[in-house]
Amino acid sequence: MSEAVAMQGIVKRYPGVLANDHVDLTVEAGEIRAIVGENGAGKSTLMKILYGLELPDEGTIRIQGQQVRIRNARDAIAHGVGMVHQHFKLVPSFTVAQNVVLGLEPHNGIVLDQAGTRAQVAQISERYGLKVDPDRRIMDASVGEQQRAEILRALYRKADVLILDEPTAVLTDSETDELFAILKRLAQAGLTILFISHKLREVLAVSDNTTVMRAGKVMGTVRTASTSARELAEMMVGRSTLEDRARQRAPHIGEPVLEVQDLSVHDSRGILAVRSASFQVREGEVLGVAGVEGNGQVELAEAITGLRPSASGRILLQGRDIRNQPVRTIRECGVAHIPADRNDMGVALDAQVWENLACTHYYERDYSGRMGLALDRIRSMAGERIAGFDVRTPSLTCPARNLSGGNLQKLVVARELGDQRARLVVASQPTRGIDVAGSEAIRGMLLDYAAQGAGVLLLSADLDEVLEVSDRVVVMYAGNVIDVGKVDASTREKVGHAMTGGAASAEVPEA
């Protein structure tokens, strides 16, 4: 095999961050190379440099043995490098074929060659087994089909190095399988595939070799066949704490903190989304709420935290009914809320970091007088929270927008748990879209907080997370809360059964 891409000594600096620190990467032709690492490890930056979207501060790039300068995407395409972005860049009202040729349309003089367009696209898609309907408009196409159109577009431009940025993030399981089959065919045809992922299972399923990045550096490249998810994860986070710590604790479970009785809640369309739900969360306990999304979890969390009126039932917090009370009252009673919609509810992205930390306390006597805010005290409180919860931010006064997803969520957690007042924590999808280390940290914070005697209600679509963190699990299905009981070896199966309404009992999927 011959060398397809060689990046040597690549350095890329952003203000305050060394995104790529003398990175070397060599990929053979016909190879499928996975590049894994946490968010912010520098893998996207490296690929953007290869595709000309970012210019390296130092380093050289060779493609097919030739040293090249890639100043923009046009250069990259000229050297046979194509990229499929995570968020597709397609024109919705154009057909698949039109999108594929966009900018390089076959033409006779000034007239577009429609028939030629279709024929060429059909030919490429047939050659590599990329099933698409060239005449379907993008807006009518499935996500998988849109992605195939993106791949076709790169192939149409004669790419022999194909970069895919988190290609499976938007795909269903069967679409993912199909994508992997395509990638293997492309590699057999001699293309070089570079794909970024942080889903280790997928990396193991499809790649030949895996390069692990951490904090801007390459930690190593391993043959995928001779490694394991655990080894890769340890290389990514640099420690072997994964999955072990949670089960080591012996929770002291006490009195009920939250008692929900016959609670019914309507969704925004007026349809009953939570139906006579009853359950308890006790001191020191993490109650996991599993289930396919859209089965009433959002409405349940919003009803408990006061963001949505409920139709009937009782929500007792340490014996006091907080149903349909104002949000502030509920918070003052000791309910913390980590909302699923982090960017649009958990923080105000354009507000400064300290302003995001102050929003639940600013009105209290410690932090303000009759009118004026005690900015010094608020800022020192904010500084303590940031330090205590390891929120990485350039400053207290920069907009929250500048923080990465993981740090933004730590900011939310710091605000909600930092005052130690909450008796109940309602955490919705607390680690969605967050890298491995950040997710671990956030789960750890929730567990530590429960260990201090608070109850945690964890709503998560990630079953692994629910099973890892929870003491007891309930499943939401069609608005009903089904108790599955204490977490043990059979819980996964029971959850799978309840999640599907008990109908598909014979074919519980191993999640």
Binding site: G16, V17, V327, D350, T393
Partner: protein
């Protein structure tokens, strides 16, 4: 990203300076480009752009008296700009500043000629308070309709402008018609309600100082008080504010009423300082200028001052330009339009923040 502690003080200083510096460079470039485009228009119409711009500058800031007149004109613009800043910071779409100016102006005039026997300071304060109240009341109905029934305030406030203008026109045509004025207007306000002049030969008056004081007050209010913080958080992200337990509806109400009150004071200030009576059509669209000024100032109360002075300078300079070079003063409208376009399109800023980052 790293924590603040690991950075050198110099690096932090540079970081802190870069924002404002970038803004200044951005606005200077926008101004130059707008002037260049205006210059091409002047040149195409067969006039000398340099002479026109010289006249524009002389008329705006060329002599101490011109400076004073520019500051006088900026007074009402500052207040209208503040009104817009408060409303837009709270995400309340108050397009009714013009109408609130009218109501405030009339209320100030009424107190100005109707109340007798007060010392000057008290009389002015009372007239301005009446103006603030009138402006706030005029903004109250639209926001009440919004909170009660979800009627879009962007439409109602706009319509309320016409009602205010026609209502005050009716008032001065009939119940309050003055016998000793040519234009429809009220009686002249008493001397005790008149803002003292600051510069001999110019209309610049103490109203300008009141406007500056209110800039400081609004800055303090928005960034240093509980209620101001609530207003801004509601404006930045309403769902976040609701989730935090903030009084979102009360904040919208407060933001609108404060905005209306500031607009009312603006109307009052121009009557007590310049016209000395209420006359119909006294405002040449100052409410709209205020909205544009708040955009130029990026919703910063402090930045409203330079933005208003700049706008006032263009307005005053354009008159001199027309008188000296026969270039119509409406050309300034075209320059303003180009500036607005460049500011809202963020032409230079995005370019620079990209280039300077690396």
């Amino acid at each position: 990203m790293e924590s603040t502690s690991t950075r050198t003080p110099q690096a932090r200083w540079l970081e802190a300076l870069r924002g404002p510096l970038l803004q200044v460079v951005n606005y200077v470039l926008i101004l130059l480009l707008a002037l260049a485009i205006g210059g091409v228009i002047i040149w195409l119409s067969g006039k000398d752009p340099l002479a026109a711009y010289r006249a524009l500058f002389v008329g705006a800031l060329g002599k101490p008296l011109a400076v004073a007149n520019t500051l006088d004109r900026a007074t009402v613009m500052i207040l209208a700009g503040l009104a817009a800043v408060v409303a837009f910071s709270t995400s309340v779409n108050n397009l009714g500043i013009e109408g609130q100016l009218y109501m405030g102006a009339f209320a100030a005039a009424w107190v100005g000629f109707g109340v007798r026997g007060l010392p000057q300071f008290l009389h002015i304060a009372l007239a301005l308070a009446a103006a603030a109240l009138a402006g706030a009341l005029w903004s109250w109905l639209p926001i009440w309709l919004k909170l009660r029934w979800g009627v879009e305030e962007i439409v109602t406030t706009l319509m309320f402008n016409y009602i205010a203008m026609l209502f005050t026109a009716y008032l001065v045509a009939f119940p309050f018609a003055s016998k000793n004025t040519v234009l429809p207007g009220t009686d002249e306000i008493l001397a005790s309600a008149t803002f003292p002049r600051l510069v001999r030969g110019s209309a610049l008056n103490a109203g300008f100082l009141v406007a500056l004081a209110l800039v400081v007050v609004v800055q303090w209010f928005l960034f240093r008080t509980k209620q101001g913080y609530e207003l801004r958080m509601v404006g930045l992200n309403r769902r976040f504010a609701t989730y935090s337990g903030m009084p979102v509806r009360r904040s919208a109400l407060l933001g609108m009423l404060l905005s209306g009150a500031l607009a009312g004071v603006g109307g009052g200030a121009i009557i007590l300082g310049f016209f000395l009576r209420f006359v119909t059509g006294f405002s040449s669209g100052y409410g709209w200028d205020g909205i544009i000024i708040s955009l130029l100032a990026k919703n910063s109360p402090l930045a409203v001052v330079p933005a208003s002075i700049f706008y006032a300078a263009l307005a005053n300079g354009s008159l001199e330009m027309q008188a000296v070079t026969q270039v119509p003063s409406t050309l300034v409208g075209a320059i303003k339009g180009v500036i607005m376009f460049l500011v809202t399109a963020r032409v230079f800023l995005d370019y620079f923040s990209k280039r300077w980052r690396t």
